[in-house]
């Protein structure tokens, strides 16, 4: 059993164990206790993840913080964990986001408080498991288990059409991942009985096998990203989900799809990935342009940001499938940046929704007059969402466009339309919601953000700025891992 540390196990099990503890605080008088325990638990979850960043060796592309125990010897399944420069950042992002959603739920969620908070803590641990697992079955287990808390969050605390949205979300993702399971079993046979993802990456495969494996993983991850045309579950899920659910969906679970492409599709089926790159790029560009236009037509703020997320994720997959360092790193930077920005956008919408109970753009207007502090943050995050330089939104998009330019001018040209479309739909929404005269009594009676909301939004704003001005610490972490991955893909598996 080669085990160098227990940090990754802690990042998985601390939130889950505390989540289960929170479940016991379910009596009416214990709501505040549940909130405090959950908040401390999420902070502890973040604290145990910090050593990943502090102790990470940027010079190595190998898995770090490795843990490996035999779990089910008969099928050679291991409890195996480890992170490289690609996965590590997402464990941190997820642990950080969990603190935000727990804090954001403070006064907003009044019913079934302990269950709500527990669902988020447990989901946080499971998602860390997805990013940390290096055994395919363990990955699959976390990947599927993660659906359950999210299903409950949408189905119980969601809006009027929550059951439709929850079932749609569940069926979409489940159907995709069944094909992935088939691919995992095939790979298990080819590798003579191993579920180690590194073995999957090493085993030579013919072109047909690679193509089928690629498509099987594609079915699973494209739904998660989501890529056009399997994206329609996302706007529904976002609209119905409570604020915290939307934040985790946008900031974290979408990233799992993109992460899956880097962890499975590219290294396991590199030749198929190259052969199908045109297809992937086409879908990505459709997402960027088509979905950008669709976002423009939305009258519901959450739906608008949901479509904006799909469009931004199109940028990520575009970056991955142009196979150069700038593209892949740009995609990863975009993923983290979008984690911050989309979380902030949904939190901002949540702030308004908690006060007015409407997501319709037309229900607002002139919010700046009554909520100046909030308006500052809303405009700032809107700018970041449209990719304004000096915000993190710009860095990823710029890198991907640069990378695309090296491959094909027209890819870059089509991708760059997002800078116009993104600005158009985001700023137009901001104009209609924030600026202008006070539209109605609801807006007139608004109260500005409280200290809790101020702290949450400030933390996100600082991160967006920091990453926008100085992204080097982030790219340094991923650089060696991305290089190793690209070399592996370029080498191929056919000979």
């Amino acid at each position: 059993m080669q085990t160098s540390s227990y940090i990754l196990s802690l990042t998985i099990w601390v939130p889950i164990v505390i989540g289960i503890l929170v479940l016991f605080l379910h009596h009416d008088g214990q709501k505040n206790a549940a909130r405090w325990v959950a908040l401390l638990g999420s902070l502890l979850g973040l604290a145990v993840a910090i050593p990943l960043w502090a102790g990470f060796d940027n010079g190595s592309s190998a898995m770090q913080f490795v843990e490996r125990f035999v779990w089910i010897p008969r099928y050679n399944i291991h409890y195996a964990l480890g992170v490289d420069g690609i996965a590590m950042l997402f464990v941190l992002l997820n642990s950080f986001t969990t603190v935000l959603v727990i804090a954001a739920a403070w006064q907003v969620i009044a019913e079934k408080v302990s269950q709500y908070l527990a669902a988020f803590l447990i989901m946080s641990g499971l998602i860390n498991g997805v990013f940390a697992a290096t055994d395919a079955i363990l990955f699959y287990l976390f990947f599927e288990a993660m659906l359950i808390p999210m299903f409950l969050i949408i189905g119980i605390w969601g809006g009027p059409r929550r059951v439709y949205a929850a079932v749609k979300f569940f069926l979409y993702t489940l159907l995709g991942s069944l094909l992935m399971l088939a691919a995992l079993i095939y790979l298990y046979n080819v590798t003579n009985g191993s579920f180690d993802i590194v073995d999957f990456q090493r085993v030579p495969l013919g072109m047909t096998a690679q193509t089928l494996i690629f498509l099987a993983f594609f079915a699973s991850f494209a739904v998660k990203v989501p890529m056009w045309p399997v994206h329609t579950w996302l706007p529904d899920a976002h609209v119905e989900a409570p604020t915290g659910g939307s934040v985790v969906l946008a900031a974290i679970t979408l990233k799992i799809g993109a992460y899956g492409f880097l962890r499975f599709n590219l290294p396991i089926a590199p030749d198929a990935a190259q052969a199908l790159s045109g297809f992937m790029i086409a879908l990505s560009l459709i997402a960027v342009i088509y979905i950008g236009l669709v976002a423009l037509a939305q009258s519901d703020m959450k739906k608008l940001v949901a479509y904006s997320s799909i469009s931004h994720m199109g940028f990520v997959t575009l970056g991955f499938f142009i196979f150069n360092t700038q593209g892949v790193e740009g995609g990863l930077v975009q993923m983290i940046s979008h984690g911050f920005i989309s979380a902030a956008m949904f939190l901002c919408i949540g702030v308004l929704y908690d006060r007015v109970h409407s997501r319709e753009i037309s229900a607002y207007g002139g919010v700046v007059n009554t909520m100046p502090k909030f308006a500052f943050f809303a405009v700032f995050f809107a700018m970041a969402n449209s990719g304004l330089p000096a915000t993190s939104g710009f860095v990823g998009e710029f890198m991907v466009i640069l990378g695309a330019m090296k491959v094909n001018f027209w890819y870059a040209f089509a991708a760059a339309t997002t800078l116009i479309l993104g600005a158009a739909y985001t700023l137009w929404m901001v104009k209609r919601v924030i600026f202008g005269d006070i539209a109605n009594d609801n807006v007139r009676n608004l109260t500005d953000i409280n200290a809790r909301e101020l702290v949450i939004l400030t933390a996100l704003a600082l991160l967006v700025l920091y990453m926008g001005v100085y992204p080097k610490p982030f790219t340094d972490v991923m650089h060696v891992s991305v290089d190793a991955l690209l070399k592996h893909v370029a080498l191929g598996k056919l000979n």
């Binding site: 749609k168 045309p229 329609t232 088509y290 950008g292 236009l293 669709v294 976002a295 423009l296 037509a297 939305q298 479309l421 158009a424």
Partner: protein
């Protein structure tokens, strides 16, 4: 201004140019109607036709509808009445026997 009638005269004589300049070559209107409105209309059409009708209507909910419909047809077979099952069984046995006898001859 000493002679306000001069600009007035220019305005009337070159009314077309005046109007063109006054309206900034109509570029704002052009942007508003062609690009902004066009993009909004296109976005709306893509959303209603692409997302709502084709993807959600036909592909997603359509699949569910087809399954629901075929299940509705298939469940007609399961009436729960013994005589109906007996009837289909007799019909089946008759069919099988017919095949066997036809083959033998």
């Amino acid at each position: 201004m000493k002679r306000p009638d001069i600009p007035e005269a220019i305005k009337t004589r070159f009314s077309f140019i005046h109007r063109l300049l006054e309206n900034k070559y109509y570029l704002d209107q052009f942007n508003e109607t062609v690009f902004a409105n066009g993009a909004r209309k296109l976005g709306h059409a893509l959303w209603k036709f692409g997302d709502v009708t084709i993807i959600d209507g036909i592909m997603v909910n359509g699949t569910a509808k087809v399954i629901g419909w075929s299940a509705g047809v298939a469940r007609q077979i399961q009436t729960g009445y013994l005589y109906s099952y007996a009837f289909w069984m007799i019909l089946g046995v008759f069919g099988l026997l017919s095949i066997v006898f036809l083959k033998l001859n």
